[in-house]
Symmetry: C2
Subunit: 227 residues, 2 copies
């Protein structure tokens, strides 16, 4: 048996990772709690955690704690896991729930210089560009609106939905659902959303986002019916 106290500290903490008692988030107890639980000094706990981190067995996030496993992006992980249990229409239904409210909050909270950024992103969309590139500008525009709403939980919901819809199959599906003329309509609708946000009109921003997503929802539904 190895009686090196540094080794023992590491093994005791490692044993926590294997029992499953950390719960769904994989978050470890605090340094102080580990120190008390295993009767190890704080300094030794800290050293053991640093070693485990260097070995890639745990990772830390400022302000949130220490977690088992590698630092993967949980938003992406969540999106990947539910992508197989949902479809493009459900995602659009969810966006119709979340994004009009984000647009309304954005209208009351946006920082002055962000309005110009919104217009710049909207201006990058161009019917001459390949569709995937336009999808990226579109996504960046919707994301900036979500960020400027200043609500971290709702931004996280948005990010999760956006990750699902970035799925390659769905990009192709959406491209098929684009009727001639719908591109110009999208540009006009984006302009209306940004105008309402720039004017600080929350209800107008909500309605404009709702109208925009409803247009897309109907196009997707019609395309899905024809499959």
């Amino acid at each position: 048996m190895n009686s090196d106290p540094d080794f023992e500290a590491k093994q005791k903490i490692l044993s926590l990772l294997d029992t499953g008692e950390l719960g769904g988030s994989g978050r470890l107890p605090s340094e102080r709690a580990l120190s008390e639980r295993f009767c190890i000094g704080r300094r030794r706990v800290r050293d053991a955690l640093a070693q485990l981190e260097a070995e890639g067995l745990i990772w830390r996030k400022q302000g949130a704690g220490t977690f088992a496993g590698r630092a993967v992006d949980p938003t992406g992980a969540l999106a990947a896991r539910i992508a197989g249990e949902t479809n493009a229409l459900q995602v659009m239904e969810a966006r119709l729930c979340v994004e009009p409210e984000l647009a309304a909050l954005c209208a009351t909270r946006i920082q002055p210089n962000a309005v110009a950024q919104l217009r710049a992103l909207a201006g990058r969309m161009d019917p001459c560009l390949p569709n995937p590139e336009n999808e990226l500008w579109d996504s960046a525009l919707h994301r900036l609106i979500a960020e400027q709403a200043c609500n971290k939980p709702l931004l996280t919901c948005f990010a999760m939905l956006d990750e699902i819809r970035a799925n390659a199959d769905w990009v192709a599906f959406r491209a098929r659902a684009r009727a001639p003329g719908s591109f110009q309509q999208t540009l006009r609708q984006h302009a209306r959303i940004i105008d309402a946000i720039a004017a600080g009109k929350a209800e107008a921003a909500r309605a404009a986002m709702q109208a925009h997503l409803t247009t897309r929802f109907i196009a997707l539904r019609d395309e899905a019916t024809e499959l």
Copy 2:
């Protein structure tokens, strides 16, 4: 150098985990893609994946794929990570966005036997019970409404918000925000939500949920102001 082909297959797949090229979700390519990329037979890829899974280096989820790391609950991981970057009022604002829509969808999609389950859960809340127990019944009621809305992405958003609000500090904060008489009001509001859902009235269900959460939002905001 070890020239055992089984060992080599495993090492090649392991090398993917270390490069970071798997992206945020940590999802591995399909068996077929791994087979083609590394010029290894499908059978050998499958055996290597099974070994890596047994060693806890990857895990699989039916219908979603194979992922690097341990199987942690990404909803819990996401909630834990953003808990430090948000507050109870932001979470309530997000619930006010998501849950009225979930109630409306639930009213049009709920399975007949689930209405009785909703009433049973609402009936378990009792002012004589300790507050944490009532919080669990309350959470179970809201979750069943979210499940019966039949939209996986929105259910995932709800679950993430619910995990954040289960944070122990916030439970205490909410308990302080409960004025005398507010418990009976909560019971009446729950009954109104369930009645609207049972009657299949989407707009009434939405309005009842909105009224319920708004009451709680105002109580929390007043408590926060007094801190």
